[in-house]
């Protein structure tokens, strides 16, 4: 059972709660494999996708998850809303609540926005990515995918490579995988991995080759083009030469390594196309599993006693 009406981050969850969500997601994945993919579980409920940042895959995935559970879905995106007219966040959120939302899926460029809404609103708030804080459903679908491929997460060697400091995906994955007993290491330039990460129980490698030794799971992160020229690294070219994933480097990892990426990818920069499209890639499984995991989260939050 979950105890909070909201899913704000992995930080707030116990390993039992994470496993419970993953187990529940397995059931929903079976449903997604059927001919008729829709269940009436949450009929009559309303889901609002409140996205203050552009997103295709996460928003679509949530929309589909909500529809598969038979909730009504409204997409509230920033370009069409009154936010552009200067409405405050709280006013927008109160308006959405007044429309009768049971679930509010929120993405925002500022860390802590889901937490602010969770305090103010009665609806279940699901964090779909807040600033550089967390992206909990991404970590859950990643864990689900790893479990699917490797059966057990405990004891696995997982490397997360790239722009760790600005990545909410990396943060949620660090919390999630360490709680589930994996050994996590972070790989990338020192400017993108502050030393404080060590206190979260992970190892840090600045040399890519060293970082890939003996790895079972390899998570590549998207490199944000706007970081270059701000002193984090001199150019994407230099980044790619040092920390890009190439077939040669992939050979350093374990033979049965799986390669993950939360998307969207910069092919040829953080990951080569051969790998992205190759047999070790599970990138498209991640996308499919995302729907099942998000269905599980909504289903379980609907059952939380208020």
């Amino acid at each position: 059972m979950l105890t909070s009406k909201d899913l704000l981050g992995i930080k707030e969850l116990t390993s039992e709660e994470i496993n419970f969500i993953l187990d529940t997601a397995s059931g929903f994945k079976d449903i997604l494999g059927r001919d008729i993919k829709k269940v009436p579980t949450l009929r009559g409920k309303t889901t609002v996708n409140l996205f203050f940042e552009p997103s295709t895959r996460t928003r679509t995935s949530f929309e589909l998850a909500a529809k598969r559970l038979s909730t009504d879905v409204i997409n509230f995106s920033v370009t069409t809303s009154s936010v552009v007219k200067g409405e405050s966040l709280i006013d927008t959120a109160m308006t959405v609540q007044a429309l009768g939302a049971d679930f509010i899926i929120i993405r925002h460029s500022a860390s802590g926005v889901p937490h602010l809404l969770a305090k103010k609103l009665k609806a279940s708030i699901i964090n779909a990515g807040d600033g550089i804080n967390e992206h909990p459903t991404q970590a859950l679908l990643d864990a689900f995918t790893i479990k699917e491929k490797k059966q057990e997460i405990k004891g696995l060697e997982v490397a997360i490579v790239g722009d760790i400091v600005h990545s909410r995906v990396a943060k949620s994955n660090i919390y999630c995988l360490t709680k589930l007993g994996a050994k996590v290491r972070l790989v990338g330039p020192p400017t993108l991995i502050p030393k404080e990460f060590k206190d979260l129980g992970v190892d840090i490698h600045h040399n890519m080759e060293e970082g890939l030794k003996g790895v079972d799971v390899l998570m590549m992160l998207r490199i944000q083009m706007e970081r270059q020229g701000k002193g984090f690294f001199p150019s994407t070219d230099e980044y790619s030469k040092n920390w890009g994933l190439t077939p040669d480097r992939l050979a350093i990892a374990k033979n049965d390594v799986i390669v993950m990426h939360p998307g969207p990818m910069n092919r040829g920069i953080e990951i080569s196309s051969e790998i992205a499209d190759g047999p070790k890639s599970v990138i498209l499984d991640q996308v499919t599993n995302g729907i099942a995991v998000r269905m599980a989260v909504m289903y379980l939050l609907a059952g939380v006693k208020r």
Partner: protein, 440 residues
């Protein structure tokens, strides 16, 4: 109208006197001060029996038995927001909050609209404070025009109009040459330059203390070094120029060390800290609490310990509030969008009394840091109970306990991280210019 305060425990660090005694106020001036039972080792004063029964008819007697009687407090770092941001605070509400907090003199920072970078703005503030203010307001002028850090403002003219110090406040003068000139030029007028020490190229976009907590909250951090680099620069410039430097709101251990060393070397520097820097760690921001978002940011336990040590050994001379009121709508926002600042006037004294209870400071040292020390730095004849001085007096009860309730703040700014705290020790009466100030 005469007022006589009797039976109170009088404590005035400016005269090094303390003990049970009485004060007679006449026409807004302290006429007599008698310590009947001086504390062992302190000086007795004016032992003349004035309990002359027949002229008590027009004298209001205040029985301060069990209470302390000290000079009205001075706060040398306040944001009154007027002109320009009256929705956050006004001269009237800010001075009322000051009186409630035990302050009779406050200095207002120049970051208003327009900026107080010209004598006409100074004149406006002083006129408005005279008309509507509940206590004395002494403006702090901007160092540079528009607080832009490019061209010196008319420091001399503004001083003549009533400014007591100069600061670009939250827009620190990043150009070292301009800062050098400010410290040099201000010598001609014997006014301190107050520096908000922050290397804004290093702190860029930062919201909270840099460390594990900022990382796990996903909030951009401000390292201690952003403050310390500028503290060190300004100390070096003060040494170079011989100008009078006052460091605002010291928040880090490193800054205390730099200032201590500079004082030992004889550099002309003084420093202040604020109650939140010795009362709260960065943990106050957990849950994205924008009321604990302040600049410089709340730091760690280690920094708090260092600040207490620096208060104790005199490295830090002054406790000021950095009272920074904001409207609730502004704080009820995305953490990164919410403005920095804590509304501090109404909790500062009680929080500071904790230092006495913890044994960090003696009561005399604390009152010194909130009265005569800022008065000396600002070169003003205040913060004292000397006979003949204006009767600005605070009577407080060391034992009075109360719940902080932000909604009951007189200040328009309800932005306090201390809401719901139980504090001990509180002002019971503030007398300004010999008048008992009623807050209506």
């Amino acid at each position: 109208m005469k007022i006589k305060i009797i039976n109170g425990y009088i404590l005035d660090p400016s005269q090094k006197i303390e003990g049970i005694g009485e004060i007679l106020i006449e026409d807004g001036i302290i006429k007599e001060l008698n310590i009947n039972r001086p504390k062992a080792g302190s000086r007795s004063r004016g032992i003349k029996d004035t309990t002359n029964k027949k002229d008590l008819s027009d004298t209001k007697i205040i029985n301060a038995e069990g209470k302390y009687v000290v000079p009205g407090l001075i706060d040398m770092h306040v944001h009154l927001r007027e002109p320009g941001f009256e929705y956050k605070e006004s001269i009237k509400t800010g001075t009322m909050a000051a009186i409630k907090g035990g302050f009779t003199t406050i200095c207002c920072m120049p970051n208003t609209l327009p900026v107080n970078d010209h004598a006409s703005v100074t004149e406006f503030i002083i006129r408005k404070a005279t008309q509507e203010g509940f206590c004395k307001v002494l403006p702090i002028g901007a160092i540079t025009k528009g607080q832009k850090g490019e061209e010196l403002a008319e420091i001399g003219t503004m001083k003549n109009e009533g400014c007591v110090a100069f600061s670009d406040d939250g827009n620190p003068v990043m150009n070292s040459l301009i800062m050098r000139r400010a410290l040099e030029y201000s010598k001609a007028f014997n006014v301190p330059i107050i520096s908000h020490c922050e290397d804004i190229t290093l702190s860029e976009g930062g919201l909270v203390n840099e460390g594990l907590l900022s990382l796990t909250l996903g909030l951009k951090g401000i390292p201690n070094e952003a403050e310390e680099i500028m503290v060190y620069r300004d100390l070096l410039l003060a040494q170079l120029t011989g100008g009078r430097l006052h460091i605002a709101h010291v928040s880090t251990e490193g800054s205390t060390k730099l200032i201590r060393d500079a004082k030992a070397k004889g550099i002309n520097v003084t420093a202040e800290t604020c109650p939140h820097y010795f009362s709260l760690t960065e943990d106050a921001i957990i849950g994205y609490n924008t009321n604990a978002k302040v600049n410089p940011p709340l730091r760690t336990k280690k920094d708090i310990e260092a600040i207490k040590e620096a208060l104790k050994d005199g490295t830090i001379d002054v406790i000021a509030t950095d009272h920074a009121p904001h409207h609730n709508d502004e704080k009820m926002m995305e953490f990164e969008k919410a403005p920095f600042g804590i509304s501090g006037l109404e909790t500062a004294f009680s929080l500071s009394l904790n230092l006495v209870r913890e044994g960090v400071l003696s009561l005399t040292q604390l009152i010194e840091k909130m009265t005569i020390n800022p008065a000396k730095i600002l070169n003003i004849n205040r913060g004292t109970l000397k006979i003949g001085s204006q009767a600005d007096i605070l009577i407080f009860d060391m034992e009075k306990e109360y719940h902080v309730n932000a909604k009951e703040f007189i200040s328009k700014g309800k932005n306090t991280p201390f809401d719901g705290w139980v504090l001990k020790g509180a002002p019971v009466m503030t007398i300004y210019k010999g008048i008992i100030k009623e807050l209506v």
